[in-house]
């Protein structure tokens, strides 16, 4: 059990990649608090499932765009479990539209959730992690940050922002044994990619060297690795988990 005794916070933990991350961290022995936006039922089901396995997991409703909401979650976790070792910023949304017709609302919502949410939570856990001279921050980015997909100006900007943020904060906190990394998933089988996948059919898989879509667990395993104590000398990195999608071979 690689994370025995550790305390983790995962945002966007009730579904998709976040759910897989919560499960993976808990099954490695960590106590996990996850933040979810609105799907109370999914959150309750996740807590039930892991409780049956004897894991310690709790869900908190939280809008990651709100700084004080993020601070409240962190404060609550500190009161409950007295420390925070791992933070996984996974909460994210897409609102794909071509730039010419993208509403200000769609732009702002994606930036606020995907980028400001990372800022809010990372800042909130910095002090407790610095005090204990230990921390693992993992931000879920996307390969979209580095590749130009039409319709994703807002999404790519937010994830590119996450990558830059990751590198800067990594240099700031390295001296205190706090690593800050990102994982960049490729095409993963979740609700977020349903629309694109059903429209594109088999076409996507043809472009992936691994010849399959990624599973949420594929991303979760990478997150668990970066969250271990042993990953202490890895920081400021963006690790692509994409089955070779972005290697650019032909």
């Amino acid at each position: 059990m690689k994370l025995e005794g550790r305390v983790a916070i995962v945002t966007g933990g009730s579904r998709g990649i976040g759910r897989a991350i919560v499960c993976a961290l808990a099954r490695e022995g960590a106590k996990v608090a996850f933040a979810y936006h609105s799907n109370q039922q999914a959150a309750d089901e996740l807590v039930e499932e892991l409780k049956k396995e004897g894991r310690e997991v709790v869900g908190y409703q939280c809008d990651v765009k709100q700084k004080n909401a993020a601070e409240k979650v962190v404060e609550t976790v500190l009161e409950k479990w007295e420390k925070i070792d791992i933070l996984v910023n996974n909460a994210g949304v897409i609102r794909d539209t071509l730039l010419a017709t993208m509403s200000e609302e769609h732009w702002n919502e994606v930036i606020a959730t995907n980028l400001n949410g990372v800022f809010n939570f990372c800042q909130a856990v910095t002090r407790p992690m610095m005090s204990q001279r230990y921390g693992r921050m993992i931000n879920v980015s996307s390969v979209a940050a580095d590749f130009g997909n039409p319709g994703q100006a807002n999404y790519a900007a937010s994830k590119g922002g996450v990558d830059g943020f990751t590198r800067c904060v990594a240099t700031e906190l390295a001296k205190r044994n706090i690593t800050v990394n990102a994982v960049a998933p490729g095409f993963i089988e979740t609700d977020m990619t349903i629309a694109v996948r059903s429209a594109a059919g088999d076409q996507i898989v043809k472009h992936i060297p691994a010849r399959r879509l990624g599973k949420p667990e594929d991303v979760a395993h990478a997150v668990v690795f970066l969250a271990t104590e042993e990953a202490a000398y890895i920081t400021g990195q963006v690790l692509r988990v994409d089955g070779g999608l972005t290697l650019g071979g032909f």
């Binding site: 002090r127 610095m130 005090s131 700031e172 906190l173 001296k175 205190r176």
Partner: protein
């Protein structure tokens, strides 16, 4: 209200903890950056620990002012602080030895103002409530 010695002892303990410095290195005149190897993350850590040890709140910039010289071009000229700059420094750092700095007011020397003694003086003022 703790004595100067009591404050100094606590401050020294914090600096040993935060900077990995030797107790013997943390004399009142020791500079945080030059002598004790502090970097920006360390300043933050020192403020956090002072808040915890003395049970006070230290707002951002009160002990270690943010890069004020960069914001206003009238405060510096050719890499040194102008009269206006020195006056601003005195205002922002009443607990520092600005007279000593004023003898050679190069911007790069500002960091020498941050000494162990400066922190002790700051905490004395802070705790006395003036």
């Amino acid at each position: 209200m703790p004595t100067e010695k009591e404050i100094y002892d606590k401050v020294r303990e914090i600096l040993v903890d935060a900077l990995g410095a030797d107790e013997s290195e943390c004399t009142m005149d020791a500079t945080l950056m030059g002598d004790l190897g502090a970097e920006s993350i360390d300043f933050l850590d020192i403020v956090f620990r002072l808040e915890k040890a003395f049970n006070v709140k230290i707002p951002r910039g009160e002990l270690f002012p943010d890069n004020f010289a960069a914001a206003d071009p009238t405060l510096t000229k050719n890499g040194a602080l102008t009269e206006a700059g020195i006056a601003e420094l005195r205002k922002r750092l009443p607990h520092a030895d600005v007279d000593k700095f004023a003898k050679d007011p190069k911007v790069e020397n500002i960091q020498d103002l941050f000494t162990v003694g400066m922190i002790v003086k700051f905490m004395e003022t802070k705790l006395s409530g003036t």
